[in-house]
């Protein structure tokens, strides 16, 4: 299971709200996760997500290419959140039991 702060998860979470271009994704992730992605890291993750069919480019006349979540991307994000939730619930349960 990838960490919650793994770039691809952060990007999926950012695009879950709305369609965004690269710089908007970077700003959004920095705002909600306190993680500053570099441009190389960002586009490496965007490529992998696009290749996996989890995000897609939106037709645009702007040089700044916007991206949006696909149905598979929404499902994948939900699956990851569920996995993180199981870990969190297990950790909380164990802490409560001490």
């Amino acid at each position: 299971m990838e960490a919650p702060n793994e770039p691809s998860t952060l990007i999926l979470a950012s695009l879950a709200a709305e369609t965004r271009h690269g710089h908007a994704i970077m700003r959004d992730i920095e705002a909600f996760a306190r993680v500053r992605l570099g441009p190389g890291t960002l586009y490496g993750a965007l490529q992998r997500l696009e290749r996996a069919g989890l995000i897609e480019a939106v037709p645009s006349t702007d040089r700044r290419q916007p991206y949006r979540l696909t149905a598979a991307g929404s499902t994948a994000l939900s699956a990851r959140l569920e996995a993180y939730g199981r870990v969190l619930r297990a950790a909380e349960h164990r802490l409560d039991g001490r």
Binding site: M1, E2, S8, H21, G22, H23, M26, G38, P39, G40, T41, L42, Y43, G44, L46, Q47, R48, E50, R51, A52, G53, L54, E56, A57, V58, P59, S60, T61, D62, R63, R64, Q65, T70, A71, A72, G73, T75, A76, S78, A79, R80, A83
Partner: protein, 226 residues
């Protein structure tokens, strides 16, 4: 800063360069950004999976979609770049280890004699290791793995190469000073058998175009969305 985008593979530039340039115009020019771009370029070269086709492009122009790659259309220039980069890095690691372990004791360290003495064994072993690297990058159980796994494979191959060199290092003849020997070894391996063997291994691997998400949950999600 935009010049660093030239370090990326051609297909990557065709797909992402325009929008990355737009992004870089909005970012400060800092060493951190430069390092991240160089790292991203290196990873892009090491990435065996194809870059997504150009569906839309920046500036409202529709760029031509790259022709589909056949099973043995291996992006040989990219693989050659992989091989050279890997070989140079391998040379830096193993050469340094050799100098520290064996070369320092030699009055005249030398790799040149390898060519006529132990050359067949040493370079043959290095070439086989490089071929295995290329094969594992291109195929094998690591094809659908993340880049992290591929780096593990490459690092393991470097380690094997390093052990081979260190073991044989003391047997190497003494014709050059260690610094010159180090450079000669870098050149010999960087432009010699290793890149070719890497490319050959990848070529033998054949089908490099099966794409699979890196994460099991993503794979399930994609299957469910169909």
């Amino acid at each position: 800063m935009k010049a660093l985008l030239r370090l990326y593979p051609g297909r990557w530039q065709q797909r992402y360069r325009a929008e990355m340039e737009a992004l870089l115009e909005e970012l400060p020019r800092t060493p951190r950004v430069a390092v991240d771009l160089v790292k991203g370029a290196l990873l892009a070269h090491l990435d065996a999976e194809p870059t997504p086709a150009v569906g839309v492009s920046s500036g409202g122009r529709t760029a031509p979609t790259p022709p589909p790659m056949t099973a043995r259309s291996l992006r040989l220039p990219e693989i050659a770049v992989h091989g050279i980069l890997l070989s140079l890095l391998l040379g830096a690691v193993t050469g340094t280890v050799w100098l520290l372990v064996g070369g320092r004791e030699a009055s005249q360290g030398g790799y040149l004699n390898v060519v006529r003495d132990d050359g067949v064994l040493l370079y043959g072993a290095l070439a086989l290791a490089s071929g295995a690297i290329g094969y594992l990058i291109g195929r094998g159980p690591w094809r659908d793995r993340s880049l992290r796994w591929r780096f593990v494979v490459i690092a393991f191959a470097w380690l094997v190469d390093g052990v081979i060199l260190v073991v044989l290092g003391r047997r190497l003849a003494d014709e050059l000073d260690p610094p010159l020997a180090f450079i000669a070894w870098l050149i010999a391996t960087g432009v010699g058998l290793q890149p070719l063997a890497t490319a050959a291994g990848a070529w033998l691997a054949g089908d490099r175009h099966a794409t699979a998400p890196a994460f099991p949950v993503d794979r399930e999600a994609r299957a469910g969305a169909r």
